[in-house]
Symmetry: D2
Subunit: 294 residues, 4 copies
């Protein structure tokens, strides 16, 4: 397929590379042009503008937040103005349910198609084409995107014919991950202060009821206190929990655990953790217990 | 081995049966004698008293709470008075760290051995000899118990030479399970109120990052709203979270998520859920969202 | 003074009437024109448009939320376009810190003056000219507004020369009020379920350490379960707590008690309390305790 | 009246002195005898034992916690063994509802009378005979104690004929005070980080809706960051919130705000605040906001 790819950050670079490697005709665009070069060396074409990335069958956006997606979508030279009739905008960023609704309506108005397809997986999974893709859109639109999804992920879940549902599921998933981090943080602070071997404790958990990638990945980061990995920063985590809470408020669903996570992330950022991986909230329980100095 | 088994509830019955089936010489005791009959039919001997169950190499207690374990352990005709020198008391109940410390000291005083070996697994796992056993005690004592553990569980974790550490780990594990239940409850309330198919949502979770028994078991109960299973009742859940919080307070470890879980369990019990499985706290978010009537 | 008054709701009607009674030349404006009639009968002039209310020395806005204040301030025929150079816009609504910053800048750009002066007090206090006015603005600007403040309030606090500070203080004050409501709700649920006389309990509190208007007013509403007073609705309360949390997040200040209040207000609204006074969150503890049916 | 007084700590010393000054025949007892001397110099008699303090019409206990009250009440030479038939034990300590029930029953069994009369007020109020006394007991028993209460307090509230109700009310009152501290802590952290003058802010609050002793006293301590006053230490505060939560759990009343306060107090104690006044929890929000270093 002929596809544009906008946003070559930690996640996007690997995804665009996998599309190129799978034989798709990829045109990449990034605000900081330097990031395009490695992709060009692997066969992609560098777009000169957002409009230039919108000439194919589809354009993918993989950007940091709502503001970035709005910037490239609306206004002069934006995606909605530039994309051909019947072409598809595939939004793979973790954006708000509200913006997803706005994009669904705007593309329909412009005679274009819109698919929301946020992903689960950290940068290493993006590079290895091992992402889980949560796709929302009409059956036809999702089918049309399948060759692209296959090149980037290990599995695609067609969750709903309404694109914003995929965003809500993605946000709820990040809430579940952060819940795991918080619960492990409290449990490790508890057994750690009792003098129990933390690594042995984690092994016990992950070889029994908690035998899942999420416990292994985050549990390992917590026990090793490896928080400067550049995987997923605290401000991005705060953004996602805020978006989940905001969608929940609109739906009138109170989520006290999500509220706790929001407070933890603000605390982390306010006390020197702005550049750390969001997993570092797991240390706050240990800090409040006087186990780890601030 | 010659072993006594005190406490034939949902969990204990299956465990005692597996010991018998494995060829151990088992003497069972239960306050309500009727529960001993099925075991006797399978080859166990019915004890006439607690003292009568303490004549072998070891005696196992599997009871509902601290009060029950204290009752059979201390005082006239209790385990400490009745057990032979060098024989082992294996406490497999989920009891407090405090009581475990008290038993460790009392048995040492009496020239007896004490092993703490609480388990992870619900009644079906107990019946199928698939329990995970968390064992605390000296290496020699744990080695002596191994034939019994093998008959009851799928794996034994030797976590510490201090028996109370095993209890703390067990309590922390139940805290982690309850955290999963709460997080799933909030997430399902959110996507459910948005009109997304809950079973499909759970499938997505458990086939990706949350591919662990704990998400499958509890997620299934939540989506099906099956809370009258008699697996693990709300008051028992409240007891365990209370014991975890109490141990944490003594160690000076604040656990805000555990506090939230405690409030949820009290709410569940206060609003008609006393007889339900503790998984029913997952419905409170949906009730607070007006999705499910109280 | 010649002053325009935009927004004749529960609060604004009384305030505008007091301005008129004090001898000021008042021009009132309301989206629903019927509400202007009683004021006209008392000597005010009915404006034909927002612009028409901006012809004097000052214009006061007293509206429900940010959206309403934005609507009358910006755009064609709005306050910024219509107000004379050197004239003052006095924003008395409880709006966000963000919007207050935006208005401060916009009025400065237009050569106008901006004062932020949100109030404490319910409709009866507004009618009785007993409001507490929290005023932010330059000393000169605040001095210019003083005759108006005197007509509407019992006391004016000049808190800062930056108008948005007054909004932050107002929001923090509403957070403190909601905290009182929540704490009383929990305490009354506790002593109530123990069978203690609630009114006697409240008398004890308010004649000792808690001898303050906020405990008397809200405590009375709680004990009498009078929640359909039309004083301050749950959605308005939720809005204010959300604005406080949002300002706090921007400043990187975690506020766990505010998070709890937000969850309570969402629960209240989701479970049938949308039309009730926000004090009704005090009943949620009793409901969760099974004391009051949902 | 002839009255014994057991417990001459921060509070008890002043109370016993006021009884003596009012003309009562006071026999004092304290575990550390040195504290009796100043009272003897003012006319009290020093008891040689607890039994020796139980020879009059009544004996008052004012001790730190349940354990201390149990120690002097039960067992050989304790109050129950020593007090005459028809004499009154007036328990003024902040003890658990459970212990109060136990004492009510034990004294009734022994043909003695029991009154529970915990107090509101800090040591300065105790010294100035300005305590608020919350009294539970039969009308006759309360009437008999009135001359003593008049010598120690500014007002007595007869709240119930069941002594434990007075303890529940006292615990709920301390919960309300701690709620004020937490809410002020969060609010002051918010406006403080925004650069607003904290003292001015507190003045605004306490001269409007929050015009109550509790806001003035605790607000002043918070703004001045005066936490080493020896008024009421963090561990005592934690004890009271724990007792409130424990009574609430028994009554099946979830109290999420009390849970938050418990976590705050544990955090304070775990991070170096064990010797501080419990008001120091107000600094935790500012610390989590990065405003105050840990």
């Amino acid at each position: 397929m002929r596809v544009g790819f906008i946003g070559l950050g930690h996640m996007g670079s690997g995804m665009a590379e996998n599309l190129t490697a799978a034989g798709h005709e990829v045109t990449v665009y990034n605000r900081t042009p330097g990031k395009m070069q490695p992709l060009v060396e692997r066969g992609a074409r560098a777009a000169e503008s957002i409009a230039d990335a919108c000439l194919g069958d589809a354009v993918i956006t993989m950007l940091a937040d709502d503001a970035a997606v709005e910037r490239v979508s609306f206004g002069n030279g934006g995606i909605i103005e530039s994309l051909g009739r019947g072409a598809i905008h595939i939004s793979m960023s973790t954006i708000s349910v509200d913006l997803s609704e706005k994009l669904t309506a705007a593309h329909a108005n412009a005679g274009q198609r819109f698919v929301s397809a946020p992903v689960f997986g950290r940068p290493d999974a993006a590079a290895a084409a091992k992402l889980f893709i949560v796709a929302g859109g009409t059956l036809d639109d999702l089918a049309a995107c399948e060759p692209l999804f296959e090149a980037m992920g290990q599995k695609t879940f067609r969750v709903s014919d309404r694109p914003p549902d995929a965003n809500l599921i993605k946000l709820s998933g990040n809430f579940l991950i952060a819940s795991v981090i918080e619960s492990l943080g409290e449990a490790v602070a508890l057994v750690g202060k009792a003098g129990i071997d933390k690594m042995k404790y984690l092994d016990l958990l992950t070889s029994t009821l908690f035998n899942a990638p999420v416990y292994k990945t985050y549990g390992g980061l917590i026990v090793d206190q490896k928080f400067d990995t550049g995987g997923f920063s605290a401000p991005l985590g705060l953004k996602d929990i805020r978006l989940a809470l905001s969608a929940a408020e609109k739906l009138r669903v109170p989520m006290p655990l999500a509220s706790l996570l929001r407070d933890r992330l603000i605390t982390l950022i306010a006390t020197g953790g702005e550049a750390l991986d969001w997993t570092a909230i797991a240390l706050l329980a240990a800090k409040d217990a006087g186990e780890v100095s601030r």
